[in-house]
Amino acid sequence: MRMFRSIAGTLAAVVAGCAAAPVPSAPPAAVRAATPAQINVPVEYYRLPNGLRVVLSRDPSVPTVTIAMYYHIGWRIEPRDRTGFAHLFEHLMFQETTNLAKGEADKIVSGNGGVANGSTHFDYTNYFQVVPSHVVEPVLWVEAERMRGLALTPESLQNQKDVVKNEVRVNVINQPYGSFPWLDLPEHANVNWYNAHNFYGDFKDIDAATLADVRAFYDTYYVPANAALVVAGDFDSAATRASIARYFAPLPARPEPPRPDVSEPPQLKQRSVVLTDPLAPRPALAIGYHVPERNTPAWYAFGLLDEILLQGDDSRLWQRLVTERGYSDSVEGGINLSGNMFDYDGPALWSAFLIHDPGVADAQILRDVDEVISHLQTELVSPAELERALTKIRSALYDVAGSPTRFGLVELLASFALYDDDPARINRLEAEFRKVTPELLRRTAQQYLVPTNRTCLSLRGARMAAAPKP
């Protein structure tokens, strides 16, 4: 319904499609060299005295600019008695501010030929727009205005509670498989409340939100030191730096908010849970494993295991479960279902899921999964298969760098600025993946892809055959 509903998904999904206009880079003959070319995204990075992180990435090939503000607050650490609050708050950031009536911010963007949206994830909430190059100045002003002057009315708070509840109805309550497994799996695989609560929000918590809650959350998390502003595309660098200083430097410095302990204790035995979905016409199965800590060698190895096991119809689980066994038309998943392997800051899950027919037992599917995994734990991945996995990553990174909306690009730059203080990491990703050896892949599979580290969700429909008939 919306042109850009979400930038979530695996890396490959994030970057589907897209390149920009005519600036030829290396000719094909040169590309075919022994060491493949890698992406080389221009990155200017600095912080304002009040702590705001600023990332500029210039690419003049298309006369548009992507402007994205990322706040280092997502649903993971939202208030305990206010499930769904981080997401509700995202909606509120499009309402009144000191100098803008409800709806005017979007009118500035869309009415000048841009698109705008926001989204909430585990560890960040973002506000992003793609606009024609001549609209950069007013949009930077809008982002500063939102950061300094939220002026929500009780009427707009009530209105957006209603809108959010309707969002949950259309996406979850009135939809088969609505929470499966993206909400269900974290809830059952994790034990720390921060990682395991209902991120979309219980209606009683959404209803209970007050203007005082809104003010406290805003004052704590929506501060310059907790945010990254990314500007990418066809802009004038000096003029944009000056505008950013003009609009954002006057915002007072406030402390970076504390982060609670979000760590997940080691899982010691397999968990199996049966869920009931009265709207679902077929059963479904999801599995989730805790992944290694981000930025470690094992984590890069896990990213490659994901490519080898699950990404694309050449992957091992696809070939076994879909092509050979015919359990389903697809098997999907990846690291961090609510985003990708680069955009979270805490514990995460790798998952795989499929919808299958009633005649197939979950145990039968799990036997196939275990066989495929067992092979990775005993045999070394061949150089050709490893190279294919690296090629998939390289191809996806090119699309991150070349997409005209630049959503994937600003997401990586903002994530690396907020979590690592190092957005230029984007240009070293492929080299990090290339360091992974077949031995490390096998060791990582042996250590992490074990039943004791696994949660299995079996979804059952209440009325397997019955669906509303016209």
Binding site: A8, P24, V31, T64, G111, E137, N166, D313, D399, A467
Partner: protein, 466 residues
Amino acid sequence: MMRRMSAILLGAALAAAAAGSATARETPPSPGMPRAFALPTKQDLRLPNGLGVTLVPFGTVPKTTLALVLRTGNIADGPKTGLADLVADMLKEGAGDRDAGGLARLAAEMGGALGIDAGPDQTTVMLDVLAERAADAVGVLADVVRRPRLPASELPRLKANLARTSAIARSQPQEVAGEAYAHLIWGDHPYGRTLPTETTIASIAIEDIRQFVAHEFGAARAHLYVAGQFDAVSVERALNDRFGDWAPGSPPAAHPPVGSRTRTVKLIDRPGAAQSTVMLGLPVAGPATPGFMRLSVANALFGGSLLSRLDQDLREDKGWTYGAASRITPYAGSAAVWTLATDVNAPDTAPALAEIFKELERLRSTPPSAEELKAIQNYRAGTFVIGASSRGGLIAQLAFCELQGLPADWLTNYVAHLYAVTPQDVRAAAAEYLDPGEMTLVVLGDLRTLKPAILALPALSGASIQ
């Protein structure tokens, strides 16, 4: 068909503030001067056998998107609804020297994956690869459409998949309402049958698949698009080598639909549904007709953009829905349907319908302000540029023009024609094309509580109730 939500998407999308903003103390800076945007230069070829080829050198990264668009799809299903979908699925089951796994691995080694999709009028075989593999990818596409293995051994599995995904679709409210709506608008024409049934799937045999490929595929009804960075010499050589001796095939059969313009209401029960799924609309002018641009601007202003009146009213003012939108869906031969779709909180169903009819009447009777129209025109011009700035988006626009038989300058003149639309044009287009008295309405919801209030709506008096 399945729509799996993988994130809270939240879209705060919003709308033009009609309400006063008189208290603003600081005003935003003004935009600068718009910069020029030119569509990338393309090269059109036609092979002697009739295959159309469009090459678009384009982009900043070494990637190439190739799409072979065949002028066939569910339009050629005959009584076996779902046949074109099964053909598309079967094409991935091996071609030339490779089985399904070999084909998948080859595509992945090139940096991509085969995407094959059947639509109402077009079947698209797509491959997005590293630039260095563009010429190789031409060969893969040629194998897939010219030397598909179509193994009978895989058909039962693919039929079971189609039966499963169709059953899942029939559990999704938007698909259920959409199936009923399409059938009311287009009747038994293939456009009116959006989902296969167990019966139609069971009736499909391997001979049907093979005959479909033999009869519906051919050079003269195909177009190959190549967009991105690539070596034009090796790509041209490959397409001559791999497609040059492809038989032209038979021309597509004309099968024009007749759309319903009878005011019709169909209510479908979904006991206990938290929301009601609403679809409302009628056949309208297609892209090749002179009134289309005026209608599409009217649609954008009404419900086709983030600034739209529908979202402003039903979401940002009333809070009855997460979103409401209208769109124009074009088919071959300048058939098209205008459809408004929304999911509203169940208790608000009848009031939401009343608002929708009220807004339609306002659109048909009163021209929009110049300011409101300008904002919509800017939005459409901006999204046109964004759409034309990606390999996939550019190919989609070119394939759309080809299917609709639009003149070569349609895309280059798009922005100028867009800005030529006046407030009076918007009102007149709505009055001409969007007559509620000719519309079909489908409501899927908890009828036990909702039916009396819906049928009591004055706008529905005299409608044929199903």
